[in-house]
Amino acid sequence: MIRCEEIGWEIEGKTVLDNISIEVAPGEVFGLIGPSGSGKSSLIRIMDLLVAPTSGRLWIDSTEVSAGSTDLVALRRRMGMVFQRPAVFSGDVYRNVSIGLGLRGERPHSARQLVEDALEMVGLTGFGPRRASTLSGGELQRVAIARALVTRPTVLFLDEPTANLDPLSTQVIEDVVRRAQTDLGTTIVMATHNLDQGQRLCDRLAVMATGRLMQTGTPLEVFYRPRTRQVARFVGAENLVDGTVERQDRGVAFVRTTGNVLAVAVHEPVFGTVTVAIRPEEIVLSHDDSCRTDSPNHLHGRVTAVESDGPLVRVSLDCGFPLVALVRRLTYLSLSLEPGLQVCAVFDPNGAHLIART
């Protein structure tokens, strides 16, 4: 559908995108994920042919765009784009949605039905005669999606479509995106800095940071098997412990770290120096004297800090190395966790993951 080969983009001497190669398959929802400034928006603008990359090659379907002499307008008419902040044209919602049809010379009569279908799709049936400037941010973003979908694009690009919206509008827009995929079969490429949203909506994710592609994979792969320390931190596997693989046995690697041997589930043989990534919410704390020493990963540690973190409590431990656990409030209260207390931290070998060190 869309193929980027070693795409690079520089502006005013600054490298915004560095050697990006990805391929989006027809019909999938593909997510570009990463913190702001990672180059997601630039990449999506390049794929929508709004700007030309400074290097690399780009294919839309089987047309190589970068070869020059391509009719960009014709290609753009097969794609749709929803920007982070929707642009509002003067006039009513009907005009805002029908603009793309007008540009293609569609007759007003046939356009009306298409616009009404698009408005129904985004849950704005009957909004046609409303002045666009009177709508809320969430409604405007849905108008922008209807405007892009009304021309039945084969690919829909979304650049942080819910970045400035309240949770309710966000949910509505996520539903629309899901329906565009299932009902219309639209291929969707979306940029988001929101990991949850990426997981909820996308078939595959490309994690970006500072203009480079860090990892591509399904949400589960990215979440559970981050390939670099950077991705691990981004997906919240914030405990990163360095060590050396001692031996492997039936899918479990034993990693020697400072003072401990940690058991970690592996899916392929690993050797040498590695980093163990442990998600803080996979760590279970208990009283130091009730430590189940028969379980593989039991660490003794001293609480150094306790902080509230949304519905959970973030407990920082010193186990020879720093370790952070996220526990439920009831656990926090029943263990009377407070700085200085000795506790036992246990995690399942399946709750951790190995990152090869390079």
Binding site: D48, L50, V73, A74, R76, R77, M79, G80, M81, F83, R85, P86, A87, V88, F89, S90, I99, G100, L103, R104, S133, A144, R147, A148, T151, F157
Partner: protein, 232 residues
């Protein structure tokens, strides 16, 4: 002393209400000349401003700066320049435009062209950047982009036209130097007010002054209204 001013005012109002032929004639000539230069200027400024605004090229900033600088060229400089070009010894002397209303239209067009172009550019640049990105992403050709963006900027463009007309109708430098205040031929509101006053025809001056002031304020009111419309 104040009495005489009041007297003048009463006579002035009388001249307006009784539709004094000379007052009517000067007013109509003024409107025709200023409207002509505004239309001519707009016809040039909108495409030129549109091309400057929608394209990226080297020296664009310098060009926009130049256009803005030309806003403040004094009217007498435009008058002097045009005088040199169209006086009998100038390169366009054979066209015999000096002391004609056509010459005045050309002069006023030269005077207001920079601000018309500048405000056209400002009107387009003042639009949400996202509008153009959206149009491009929807597959608009270059000319479709220009038309759609001019439509979005229509209030600001109309305000620009009104500003140009207001300048043309109030200026006195070009009118006096190129028109020459010839009675029944090139005399307009500003030149008549300026010269009749010193000749002591206070009631005529006042009548024309009231008309000019009303016209200027109506145009200004229109500009404000249009700028408000653009903001809404």
């Amino acid at each position: 002393m104040v009495n005489e001013i009041v007297q003048g005012f009463i006579q002035a109002v009388d001249l307006i209400v009784s539709l004094d032929p000379e007052v009517i004639e000067i007013t109509i000539r003024t409107l025709v000349i200023s409207l002509s230069s505004t239309l001519l200027g707009t016809a040039i400024a909108i495409p030129v401003g549109g091309i400057i605004s929608l394209n990226e090229f080297r020296g664009k900033r310098a060009l926009m700066y130049l256009v803005q600088t030309l806003y403040s060229v004094p009217t007498v400089i435009i008058g002097l320049l045009l005088f040199l070009l169209i006086s009998s010894s100038g390169p366009f002397g054979s066209l015999k435009l000096l002391f004609t209303s056509t010459g005045m239209v050309i002069g006023q067009t030269m005077l207001i062209l920079p601000i018309l172009i500048g405000l056209t550019i400002a009107a387009l640049e003042g639009l949400d950047r996202g509008l153009r990105d959206t149009l491009v992403s929807l597959g608009a050709t270059w000319s479709q982009q220009l038309i759609a963006l001019l439509r979005e900027a229509r209030f600001a463009l109309l305000a620009a036209v009104a500003v140009g007309f207001g300048r043309a109708i109030s200026e006195v430098g070009v009118a006096i130097m190129i028109g020459g205040n010839i009675r029944g031929f090139t005399r307009v509101l500003t030149t008549a007010i300026s010269l009749e006053t010193s000749m002591g025809n206070i009631s005529l001056s006042l009548a024309l002054g009231i008309i000019l002031l009303v016209l200027a304020l109506v145009v200004n009111f229109g500009v404000n209204l249009l700028q408000g419309g653009g903001r809404r």
